[in-house]
């Protein structure tokens, strides 16, 4: 029975990937990847949409990474004598992780949109908050997996908590923390609802010139073209953009898996 469920799960994934590849591949060529979108997406390519997506997830990483890292360190290194508080922290992060993404968009627009308007910066902040639990919990897991003997050895050599974090914890957990970052970015790259009305626009934008400019992204492009279902050119370009987006997400997930395989501390210690 379990084997059947596993086969169903794998089969569904393979089906989705196959459809995306079969439908998307005919649209993809060098021009599609490097040209500007024209005629409301019916012609040209997706260069600036790809760039916009990369700008948004880079911004989300720049904002979210220090917060995720800081809170993960606080949780694992400074709350060691307060397990209840630590547990509450974890519940809070889980709750944040399970909130519908459209809610992030609404709240984010209320908070960040008031300051930056519909802009890529608003989107980066919203995505940063959204991917925070993914990054944070992955980092917590990496820090907690570090053998306690490493910390105690650092303590016995007279290192303070900051020095232990800088010289032992972060170098040893680098790959674990990087895994969290890539998982978070993969989630951000696939997100549509939260940025649809807060950070992106379908046309009229190439590269955002200021922090208050919106970006055009693959997600918005796919969403808008898919609504033009009667025009086969729109549908084909939507599938092409979807395949590029899927490739980007898989590239980030592969990066996460690769860096996780590099975790190399002495498990025997």
């Amino acid at each position: 029975m379990l084997r059947a469920f596993t086969l169903i799960a794998c089969g569904l994934l393979i089906f989705v990937l196959s459809v995306a590849i079969i439908r998307g591949l005919p649209a993809i060529d060098l021009v599609f990847l490097t040209a500007e979108s024209k005629n409301f997406g019916l012609e040209g390519g997706i260069f600036y949409q790809t760039l916009g997506t990369l700008i948004l997830i880079s911004g989300a990483a720049a904002v979210g990474l220090p917060i995720a890292l800081g809170s993960a360190l606080f949780q694992t290194e400074y709350l060691r004598r307060a397990p209840r508080l630590k547990k509450s922290f974890r519940v809070l992060m889980d709750a944040l992780n399970s909130a519908p993404t459209i809610v992030f968009g609404l709240v984010g627009y209320l908070v960040f949109g008031a300051a930056f308007g519909v802009s890529w910066l608003t989107g980066a902040f919203i995505l940063a908050v959204m991917i925070l639990p993914t990054m944070q919990s992955s980092m917590v897991e990496a820090f907690e997996a570090l053998p306690e003997s490493y910390r105690e050895t650092g303590q016995s050599l007279g290192l303070g908590r900051g020095a232990i974090i800088r010289s032992i914890l972060l170098p040893q957990c680098f790959y674990g923390a990087a895994t969290g970052l890539f998982l978070g970015l993969a989630r951000a790259a696939g997100e549509t609802a939260a940025i649809l009305f807060t950070a992106t626009t379908f046309s009229g934008v190439t590269i955002p010139e200021s922090a208050s400019d919106p970006a055009t992204t693959l997600q918005t492009h796919i969403f808008t073209l898919a609504q033009e279902g009667l025009d086969p050119r729109a549908v084909e370009n939507a599938w092409g953009a979807a395949l590029v987006l899927l490739t980007l997400v898989f590239a980030l997930l592969s990066a996460a898996i690769w860096v996780r395989s590099r975790l190399h501390w002495e498990s025997a210690v």
């Binding site: 004598r81 490493y150 105690e152 050599l157 007279g158 290192l159 002495e266």
Partner: protein
């Protein structure tokens, strides 16, 4: 610190882990230049005592000390004492060696790199000196840049000891440092204890009574979280015999 000031003075009423009392009525002075063995059965509180002396249990939930622990006359559990500053003079060697996934050389100088006012150019010479002290130099002098975790367990323990000695702690706490090590490493560590007991206070937790007699100036017996006031004679009581032969 005058020579009359003991390196360690215990005036411990109780030590707790949450509601569990693990140490009680520990009152004793340990002189500044001598080696003292702490001997007792498993679970008697020896390791807890050592960890209490270097505040290694600070992060353990529910750990608390009732009483005073004086290191060079200063109560280390007063709020003014910084634990990392304390551990610069109270070094601890653990039963199981822990070397960092770095080179042998980087391991030796690891702690020293975090001290202020250290002449970086002098580090290689200092590293050689302590590696000779622990009799590891001849075994590693041609491969100082090799990965330390590839060393044998005995070599790793000597490396951990060298890493501690380079910091010149005034008090050295050793928690069963030779258990399950090769004879060569045991001999090197025992010789070092004998030499360094003239320089600093050494507290050695051991399960090996012969070793305690060989290298220490004094043996303190512990059981059920307390010091036994006088060493039990082998045939004086069933308890004494059991303790000496466990």
């Amino acid at each position: 610190m005058s020579d009359q000031t003991p390196a360690v003075e215990l005036r411990i009423a109780h030590v707790f882990f949450k509601n569990r009392r693990v140490l009680e009525d520990l009152n004793r002075r340990f002189p500044s230049r001598s080696a003292t063995a702490i001997y007792g059965p498993s679970g008697s509180g020896k390791t807890t005592l050592l960890r209490t002396l270097s505040r290694m249990n600070d992060d353990v939930e529910g750990f608390r000390v009732e009483g005073r622990v004086l290191i060079e006359g200063e109560n280390i559990y007063s709020k003014e004492v910084d634990a990392s500053r304390l551990r610069r003079k109270v070094g601890m060697l653990f039963q199981k060696p822990c070397v960092f996934p770095k080179s042998i050389y980087q391991n030796v100088v690891f702690g020293l790199r975090h001290r202020d006012g250290i002449d970086r150019k002098a580090l290689p010479e200092m590293a050689e000196s302590v590696l000779r002290e622990v009799r590891l130099w001849d075994e590693v002098k041609d491969r100082l840049n090799e990965w330390a975790p590839t060393l044998s367990q005995g070599q790793q323990q000597r490396l951990a000891l060298a890493r501690l000695l380079i910091l010149e702690p005034k008090i050295l706490l050793m928690d069963e440092p030779t258990s399950s090590l090769d004879p060569r490493s045991v001999e090197a560590i025992e010789a070092l204890i004998e030499r360094h007991s003239k320089l600093r206070a050494i507290l050695l937790v051991t399960h090996n009574l012969e070793q305690a007699r060989r290298v220490c100036d004094e043996i303190v017996f512990m059981d059920c979280g307390r010091f036994l006031e006088s060493p039990p004679l082998p045939h004086s009581s069933p308890a004494g015999e059991e303790l000496l032969n466990y």
